[in-house]
């Protein structure tokens, strides 16, 4: 699946992308405003899709001067499941946080990075997950938890899951030589620990450089 286009799991059409915008905020939009947010689609196409959705009752229109404003009809029977689908990216991150928070051997830090974090995900993109393992703790248990999570994330999304794992001491000792960790600092979506931990673990300069 593509978390940037969550309704594509049920409809690979413009209608799905419009519903996502309308579902995530309780605000009315003109077709032109929607075109500004969905610029890969034509404004005419957006108007036609809005008419289809209005005829289904899931979108309501309201005249404002010469323009029409459109919003999701939140009383519609289909509104709740559509909102739930539209929030899939947030649900995914929250579920990951919950899972990692439940581990007896909690990660020092965890983050989604790569195309999911950068908003450039495609339907066949891998899901990249960084996990920093604590130095202390049951290693076998940790490996079991990571393997189970990897399988579960793939089952949740349909995408391959790639876990990039470092130990806490590896990051502190040589993490600044890993470009991928810098990418996580810049774009990562934290799902365990705090982003500040990773940033502090990767000083921009050697301590001596600061005063040179």
């Amino acid at each position: 699946m593509d978390l940037a286009h969550p309704l594509a799991v049920v409809t690979p059409t413009l209608d799905g992308d419009i519903l996502v915008v309308l579902a995530l905020v309780d605000t009315a939009f003109t077709p032109r405003q929607l075109h500004g947010m969905l610029s890969q689609h034509s404004e005419d196409g957006i108007r036609r899709a809005l008419r289809r959705l209005t005829s289904q009752g899931i979108v309501s229109d309201q005249r404002a001067g010469n323009a029409y404003l459109y919003r999701l009809s939140r009383s519609h029977l289909a509104a709740a499941p559509i909102i739930e689908l539209a929030r899939m990216r947030q649900t995914f991150l929250a579920r990951l946080e919950d899972r990692l928070g439940s581990w007896g051997v909690a990660p020092v830090y965890g983050a989604i990075f790569g195309s999911v974090a950068r908003g450039s995900m495609r339907i066949d993109s891998d899901i990249d997950l960084l996990l920093i393992r604590p130095d202390a703790g049951d290693r076998d248990r940790w490996d079991d938890l990571v393997a189970q999570l990897t399988a579960d994330v793939t089952a949740w999304t349909g995408n391959d899951t790639r876990v990039l794992e470092f130990s806490e001491s590896e990051v502190l000792r040589s993490g600044r030589q890993e470009p991928v960790l810098r990418d996580v600092v810049a774009h990562g979506l934290t799902v365990a620990g705090t982003a500040d931990w990773l940033r502090r673990a990767l000083p921009a300069k050697e301590p001596n450089d600061v005063r040179s």
């Binding site: 939009f29 991150l93 974090a117 600092v185 979506l189 500040d196």
Partner: protein
């Protein structure tokens, strides 16, 4: 909202880069100081700017427009908060916390307190996290 500007992908990307930059420099300022209170006002001010940039990203993603320019003139903070509230009510509360501090730490003569530091850090972190996740 009056004064809201239409957003482009370039604006969204640029505002997120600035939010990241402000937070990173805020942390560096705090790390390099002998005492946190020595740089409290600079630290909070940087987090306020990070929060404003993050709020713009959220508004861009959800509403296709953002409140750029309103803050710069020191007016209409309420409009900016209202715009963000339409996009993300929880984020709007964090922005409100930061904007309340903005004028005092930037132009007042009393230093930011330890409590201000913690509140600004919590609000800034939450806004940046939300901005990255939208």
């Amino acid at each position: 909202m009056s004064g809201a500007r239409r957003c482009t992908p370039q604006v969204r990307e640029g505002r997120l880069a600035k939010a990241n930059q402000f937070v990173a420099v805020a942390r560096d300022v705090a790390d390099l100081a002998d005492q946190a209170k020595d740089v409290a006002d600079a630290y909070v001010t940087l987090l306020v700017h990070a929060g404003i940039a993050a709020a713009d990203v959220i508004c861009c993603a959800r509403l296709g427009e953002y409140a750029h320019g309103e803050y710069a003139h020191g007016v209409d903070h309420n409009d900016a908060i209202a715009l963000l509230k339409a996009a993300d009510a929880a984020a709007a509360r964090h922005l409100e916390t930061l904007l309340k501090m903005k004028t005092r730490v930037g132009y007042g003569h009393t230093p930011a307190s330890q409590e201000d530091l913690k509140k600004a850090q919590r609000a800034g972190d939450a806004l940046l996290k939300a901005a990255r996740a939208v």
